[in-house]
């Protein structure tokens, strides 16, 4: 009989790993990119699944919405990009005073490279002069990073992956627009937004969602319009006039009959979010940022140890 080996009981040492804040932040940012690329936020999913039920049976519109639903589920399970066009990578970072932006920027760039290697992002960044694709998603202006100093104590990172197809059907109008009979008033604004949705047809991978800015100069107007895409689809605009306009635009656009993928059908537009900015008397721009159904937006709050404290969507 084999003797039982008597082993001395060693006192259990508590191993506390020192957290490397850079490494932890990097991991956190890669995880944010992974989830943004592979999972549709719940507020978007709810609206999409509701829209699916509205399409008539055995139509190509219903067929498209079924494939969309399958795709959402498959991407999540496989942890792979919802859409192969993983888009322009846009970060919105809110931070307290005293936060160092430069090292954080470097970490974001590293995370983007890492996420590209892992296949969460496609090699999607091209030099506009030479046509060269470095394969890292880094380059002039890429990724796009916006910082905001806030009174809060926490670091909040939001990420939008904006595909090229829907970016291409985004638009900016200058009022008055004589062709559309759109004047410098809310009625004119309404007209140009609906026109943008009509012009997009199925090319922006509808049913889509809009972010709109009324006013501002050309650059700010486009920037604020896109930022509206950070709002949850089920929220309510605190401005009563804009809230009413948002609802009206969605209802009206869904009478156009363009439908999912432009196949014809009930749902052309999932949502419309509108903000406004002051303008100079000579200009009146309306900017429309069109987002595809594969609405990739996520956000996190980062804790002291650079871990994810909370998901924002």
């Amino acid at each position: 009989m084999a003797k039982k080996k008597v082993t001395k009981k060693k006192p259990i040492k508590k191993v506390t790993k020192k957290i490397d804040p850079k490494k932890a932040t990097l991991e956190t940012l890669v995880e944010l990119i992974r989830v943004t690329s592979t999972v549709v936020p719940k507020d978007v999913q709810d609206v999409l699944y509701e829209a699916r039920k509205k399409e008539l049976q055995n139509t190509s519109a219903e067929y498209a919405m079924n494939i969309i639903k399958d795709n959402i589920e498959l991407a999540k399970v496989k942890s792979q990009p919802l859409c192969q066009d993983t888009g322009t990578v846009i970060f919105y970072v809110s931070h307290p005073a005293g936060f160092h932006q430069t090292p954080f920027k470097e970490l974001i760039k590293k995370a983007v490279t890492e996420a590209t290697k892992k296949g969460y992002l496609r090699q999607n960044s091209v030099n506009s002069l030479t046509g060269e694709n470095a394969g890292t998603n880094l380059g002039e202006g890429h990724p796009s990073i916006h910082f905001y100093e806030t009174k809060g104590k926490e670091i909040e990172v939001k990420l939008v992956l904006k595909g090229g197809g829907c970016e291409n059907v985004s638009a900016q109008y200058s009022l008055p627009d004589t062709q559309l009979g759109a004047g410098r008033d809310l009625e004119g604004v309404r007209k140009v937004i609906i026109d943008a949705v009509y012009k997009a047809q199925g090319k922006g991978c509808g049913p889509g969602a809009l972010g709109v800015c009324i006013g501002g100069d050309r650059a700010d107007s486009a920037y604020f319009a896109k930022k509206q895409l950070l709002r949850k689809l089920n929220d309510k605009n605190s401005n009563k006039i804009l809230d009413q306009l948002e609802t009206e635009i969605v209802e009206t656009c869904n009478k156009l009959g363009i439908g999912p993928m432009g196949f014809g059908g009930k749902t052309t537009l999932l949502s419309c979010k509108i903000t406004h900015a002051n303008r100079v008397p000579a200009s009146f721009f309306v900017s429309i940022s069109y987002m595809c159904w594969a609405f990739r937006r996520q956000g996190i709050v980062i804790d002291k140890n650079a871990k994810i404290k909370k998901w924002l969507y």
Binding site: N133, N168, I258
Partner: protein, 189 residues
């Protein structure tokens, strides 16, 4: 649901009509902006495109570290209208019988489809996972110098789901929807 199986032919695609939901099994070649421009400039195609289908797609591809083989992790269609200046020529000169993409194409392509026997298939944009699942193997990579999304990928697919939105008889669902939505728009405005 109709089926279209490799080898493809102009005769087989002429049977298809706008609105048909089709499952494609066989070979596809990806080709998007850089490839179309390249062919338009008179360069020789590195693959024979006669009776083949071109897929407007820039896939996310990864190389298996052990086997060295490529595989596709996401492969939805890209917007087709950007190829409108070139597509008719590729249909005419290279004899392709199908184009898969999204968003539809214009009159030049529609005319070429009718004249030479070609069909435009609409895949569901953004459905990169459902479509990647239908890719059974990566059989070739050409024009890699264009960057991986822009290169030509030779793919074997099984039951790849598409809708015919432009047929070889001059019909286009895109034209139809645009006309109807324009009427609706005019009422609204």
């Amino acid at each position: 649901m109709k089926k279209l199986t490799y080898p493809f032919s102009p005769e087989a695609v002429r049977e298809l009509k706008v609105g048909d939901m089709v499952l494609i099994t066989g070979k596809l070649f990806t080709g998007r902006d850089a490839v179309h421009k390249y062919l338009h400039e008179g360069n020789k195609s590195p693959v024979k495109l006669k009776n083949q289908i071109i897929y407007h797609c820039g896939p996310v591809t990864l190389k298996d570290k052990k086997t060295g083989k490529w595989y596709v992790t996401a492969a939805g269609p890209t917007t087709s209208i950007r190829e409108e200046p070139y597509q008719w020529e590729v249909i005419k000169d290279h004899g392709i019988v199908g184009v898969i993409g999204k968003g539809g194409m214009g009159q030049k392509t529609l005319d070429a489809c009718k004249e030479y026997g070609c069909v435009y298939f609409h895949a569901v944009g953004g459905a990169a996972q459902v479509l990647a699942e239908k890719i059974k193997s990566v059989d070739g990579l050409y024009l890699e110098e264009f960057g991986l999304p822009e290169a030509i990928w030779e793919l074997s697919v099984e039951d790849f789901p598409v809708v015919v939105t432009m047929d070889a008889h001059g019909n286009s669902l895109h034209k139809e929807v645009e006309t109807l939505s324009k009427e609706a728009l005019q009422k609204i405005l």
